[in-house]
């Protein structure tokens, strides 16, 4: 047996243990990425092998939490994929405006940049006070950061560029206050966003949504878990609601695909049929 094969067995056992003890299920995550992250976590840890880590991992919550942080990578940015946000502004918002009030779910929101971008966009389009967003993630540490709405000031140049490319036309600096090396987002952006823990692998639906965004989260899942998530989104969405995926994800060959129509072709915005 190659040592690599032993490691595969160890990883399987480790994920099973984590599932049984803590209820976090990573067994249906795509092998290649999760192995990369676990190996990285191990290299930074005090343990030499996964078997060695196992014993303390199952007994000490703090060890598990460090593993959780290692497994869930939370890279995100404001107005990520500007063309997508431009299409939301131009092609989705006109539909949303026909409702007196809309509910939006950001699944896998990481540190909240995507939800804050949507809030900026909706406020600019005259929908302030007419929406509530639910922004959820498996990782509670990032949710806490998300709720604070504080970002490194060094990121603001990039976010401003994205914002402008997405069709934003006011001064982006109006949306935050600079304090030393940090940018504090304005309270007007935060007040209609609820940040809450939710695990797509085990938790249930969020009812009556007009829009669900789940971008760059399911790319880490194996096909059965992807299907589970899509069913969840489908049962959360109202007819005529919008489902937004990452630029490299699609509903092609997915079970719920037949009930959706693609709105802005390469940008992965889908609309649920009526009836």
């Amino acid at each position: 047996m190659k040592s690599g094969d032993v490691e595969d067995v160890e990883i399987r056992l480790l994920l099973e243990g984590v599932q049984e003890i803590y209820g976090y299920d990573f067994r249906d995550y795509a092998d290649a990425s999760i192995k990369r992250r676990l190996t990285h976590w191990l290299a930074e840890s005090e343990f030499d092998t996964f078997s060695q880590a196992q014993s303390r991992l199952l007994r000490e919550r703090s060890v598990f939490e460090s593993l959780l942080r290692g497994i869930t990578v939370n890279v995100t940015e404001m107005f990520r994929d500007p063309a997508f946000f431009r299409a939301v502004r131009e092609q989705v918002v006109p539909f949303l405006k026909t409702y007196p009030f809309v509910k939006i779910w950001h699944a896998g929101c990481a540190t909240g940049e995507e939800a804050y971008s949507m809030a900026i966009l909706l406020n600019e389009e005259g929908m302030a006070g007419r929406y509530r967003m639910y922004a959820t993630d498996i990782n509670e540490a990032v949710l806490q950061k998300a709720a604070e709405g504080v970002m490194p000031i060094t990121e603001m140049q990039r976010f401003t560029r994205n914002y402008q490319k997405s069709g934003g036309s006011v001064s982006f600096a109006d949306y935050y206050t600079a304090r030393y090396d940090r940018a504090i987002l304005s309270a007007a952006l935060k007040k209609d966003i609820v940040f809450a823990p939710h695990n797509l692998a085990v938790d249930g639906e969020f009812g009556e949504m007009n829009m669900v965004l789940c971008r760059n989260v399911m790319i880490y899942f194996k096909p059965p878990l992807k299907e589970r998530c899509l069913q969840l989104f489908d049962s959360s969405l109202l007819a005529g609601g919008f489902l937004c995926l990452g630029l490299k994800e699609s509903l092609e060959k997915k079970q719920i695909g037949a009930r959706y129509e693609e709105l802005a072709a390469p940008l992965r915005i889908y609309r649920k049929h009526y009836g």
């Binding site: 290649a32 990369r36 990578v73 790319i219 490299k248």
Partner: protein, 206 residues
């Protein structure tokens, strides 16, 4: 002995478009192995590289989509702003993880994940580039018993990447250092006669 190679991975950066056009352009439509490529591009580069290469090569070239099955005689290009990885089940996956070796897509990420899956049945190729991505990946390929090919630095538009790859694999030694012109012929010599579907260990999600 019959060739047991199952895949080719290629990493390239500065000067990549010309290099890939030349290399892929010299391979016939029935080249029997899948080819997975990371070319460094800007995050907002769009998907034109795959289209362009597809028009100019006999092989089918496409931008990799998540969950693409790895098929022989097909060239998969990593999409801008995503890492490209090989899954055990014979499929591709993408990731939005942080930059590795200052790049996303990163050559190291593709090479390391491919080495895990294909072991000794993998050919890794490092072409022109002005950075060090690909060195660690090529090392991983050698450690798993795979074959390493590096473009002759003297022949490369940017020599750093090939040079670094040669230095990094010094312990085991690179198998071939060749000019771009000889690369297609070498790959054809190494590849099996006929396409065999990669007999990858089927994982749980196969």
């Amino acid at each position: 002995m019959a060739s047991t190679f199952q895949a080719v991975v290629i990493g390239v950066s500065t000067g990549g478009l010309q290099a890939l056009q030349k290399l892929l352009g010299q391979l016939p439509a029935d080249f029997p192995l899948p080819i997975l490529i990371v070319q460094h591009v800007r995050p907002d580069a769009g998907s034109s590289l795959a289209k362009l290469l597809d028009e100019r090569c006999a092989l089918r070239v496409k931008e990799a989509d998540e969950q693409d099955e790895i098929l022989p005689g097909t060239v998969y290009i990593a999409p801008p702003n995503y890492h490209l990885l090989v899954e055990r089940a014979g499929f591709l996956s993408l990731s939005a993880d942080p930059y590795v070796s200052f790049a996303r897509p990163s050559i190291d990420v593709l090479f390391e994940s491919a080495a895990e899956v294909f072991g000794p049945d993998l050919i890794g190729v490092v072409l022109t580039g002005a950075n060090f991505d690909g060195s660690r990946g090529l090392q991983a390929i050698k450690q798993q018993g795979g074959t390493a090919i590096v473009q002759d630095p003297a022949d490369a538009e940017a020599r750093q990447m090939p040079q670094a790859a040669i230095a990094a694999t010094a312990a085991t030694g690179v198998d071939y250092v060749v000019a771009l012109d000889g690369m297609a012929a070498l790959l054809q010599k190494l590849a099996p006669r006929r396409a065999t579907l990669p007999h990858i260990t089927r994982g749980r999600n196969a």
